[in-house]
Symmetry: none
Subunit: 207 residues, 4 copies
DNA sequence: GATGAATGAGCTTTCATTCAT
DNA sequence: TATGAATGAAAGCTCATTCAT
């Protein structure tokens, strides 16, 4: 069994970490390669030796994340649904959140970069669409259809449901880590259940 | 009746429009003042005569938007609620959306800039907090409490409800205009009702 | 009897005063015309209406000073010496200092500008040489010769004597006003006599 | 034996020399960094890599000079006086002039810059005061007192004597190199003795 | 005469990238 | 592989000067 990830030297890791922090903090365009070299304690030239260009560095940060977040969907999630491992959509959503929670929490700066830079970099958008669009989108549609057929999801367009679920999750992360990192927050443990509860019944009591 | 807005010359408007488009398209840090001058068909010096610095230009674009979106909340919305103009929270939300819809649709690039640049500019964040934080936050809490007492809102923390409602609206706008402007979209007219419906009952059918 | 000085409007005076202060404080090249306009409370255009260019403004400040300091030498000083009004060179020097003292003290910034800017502006140097060189230099030589013949001045080259006397005076002014304006200084009244005394006997007691 | 001076690369030296010439000729504010880069035959960026800013370049030129001129005073001059190496003040002055003559003649542009720019740069003034003020001033006072007690100096305030001696020397240099570099000058060798002679007996024969 | 908006050349400085060591 | 000196294009910004009002 071979290791698919290319071996990264200490310097490469230092560069990636420094760049991740700085891109997240000041944005890609607002960060200079000399700052990165400084923070990573390497020479400026070293960055270009390893990543060819500044944009190459950005892609080296962001691409693996897309893979990590999206790949298990193809490999596992759909199959588990079809195997009836998740009888209720709640279980499916809960599993999706829980499976990614740790990785996301450990890699929030990367996610921040991804979200912030996608609008400005066609390459990123293409990658994103390639990863999400090609397979995932269709698979998620299947899953949604599956639960709609079981009567567990309202009869709305798959896109709307997907967006609602996605932003329910993302809005928490964005609010939590991007906009108001210093605000006072509840215990994070109950957050998953709250998201599910809101997806179940909204926030408005029916008239 | 005097005009409270400072009179803007043709060149100033041209600069603001060019900058708005470019900042929205390429980001603040990714746009150069010479590009702006070029697009606005003015000399580069003119930009600095009027707006002092590149950041001054950003603030001149974004600040008025915050005022426009937030001011009516203080002046009108709360009072109308207290005057029982909106018996149901649905009516209140619908009114808030409808009142801002046109302005937002006409000023989407500004909103895009605001959302994208807030994380990178402490001044912007401060302004945002100043406008939102001081008054609005408390007023919205009152409104939420009002409808909770009437049994129309679930008994969650006001912050959670606020965030859910806000992102339900924003997520539509962001998805619609920022991330996937070229995607195929439904008639926008039904969107308001869909948002309200989701806030009412979520997307999951109760078990 | 006509007034030879061109009538200056209020604005012109304001500009000259502002420019004098700023040139003295920050140097000619270090001062911008907009700063001058600001301080003088006139529009930038007004400066150029009256003085044609920034350099024209400099000349308008400095030229009259040269005339004021140098003209009386030609008109009065030499004649008075020839008329034997000053029997002793001490009296001549004392008179020269006293005659110019007030004007210099009232116009120190101008003098500072003159001294500081002469090396950088050929026009200034030319003017200076024209005023000093053509007539004054020869006349001062005559005066020096006159007192040397009377045995009141050492038998050194006129240039050396001139320089010694000039710098004895100037060094006091420069030290006093340019380099150490905030230092603690004696009563200025005795300064003239001290300069004369040093010119008489140096500071070293003969072996 | 180690070299205490930081090693300067060829380019750094080229930049310093070009800047020294240009600052001396046209003043600090009147010289552009692109002119300097041009004359030094380096890229403009190189200047800023090495000296951080234009002002940094000025300080890199001027600071070492202050040290070079002033340091030997603390280390040598006072001790030599106390060791009675100079019986007469004339010997002391002569030694001071001779010790610095070569360095000054080789670095006249630097001196010109120092004298011209001190009034406009607080940092320079502070450095100057720090170097001169702290130790030198007191030591010179001691020396003056020493020779006054021996009856070799007139009984004037130390400041006046210091200023007289200093300007006697400086006035020669300034007149010689700054104001009238193209004038015809005597052999420089006798100049030292002339300065001493003037300090001994002034230029005026006692009545 | 007086204004100040407008200019565009030129300023200091930063930047991503290269390359000899 | 790693360096960091060097680059020069381009950045943000300032400037003296002009001109329509």
């Amino acid at each position: 069994m071979t290791n698919k990830e290319p071996k990264l030297t200490k310097k490469q890791i230092a560069i990636l970490e420094a760049a991740t922090d700085l891109f997240a903090e000041k944005g890609y365009a607002g960060t200079s390669t000399s700052e990165i070299a400084n923070k990573a304690e390497v020479a400026e030239g070293t960055i270009f030796k390893h990543f060819k260009s500044k944009k190459g560095l950005l892609l080296a940060i962001v691409s693996p994340m897309m893979v990590k977040l999206v790949a298990p969907m193809i490999k596992n999630d759909l199959n588990k649904v079809l195997d009836q491992e998740y009888e209720y959509i709640q279980d499916f959503i809960r599993a999706m959140i829980e499976n990614r929670k740790e990785y996301i929490q450990n890699n929030l700066p990367m996610l921040k970069i991804l979200v912030q830079e996608i609008p400005f970099h066609p390459e990123l958008k293409e990658q994103f669409i390639e990863y999400i669009g090609k397979d995932i989108f269709d698979r998620l549609k299947e899953i949604i259809k599956y639960y709609q057929d079981k009567g567990q999801l309202v009869d709305m367009k798959a896109e709307v449901i997907m967006r609602t679920v996605a932003t329910s999750i993302l809005s928490y992360i964005v609010a939590r880590y991007v906009f108001l990192p210093e605000a006072n927050w509840d215990e994070e443990e109950v957050e998953t259940e709250r998201i599910i509860q809101i997806l179940e019944s909204g926030v408005i009591q029916k008239k």
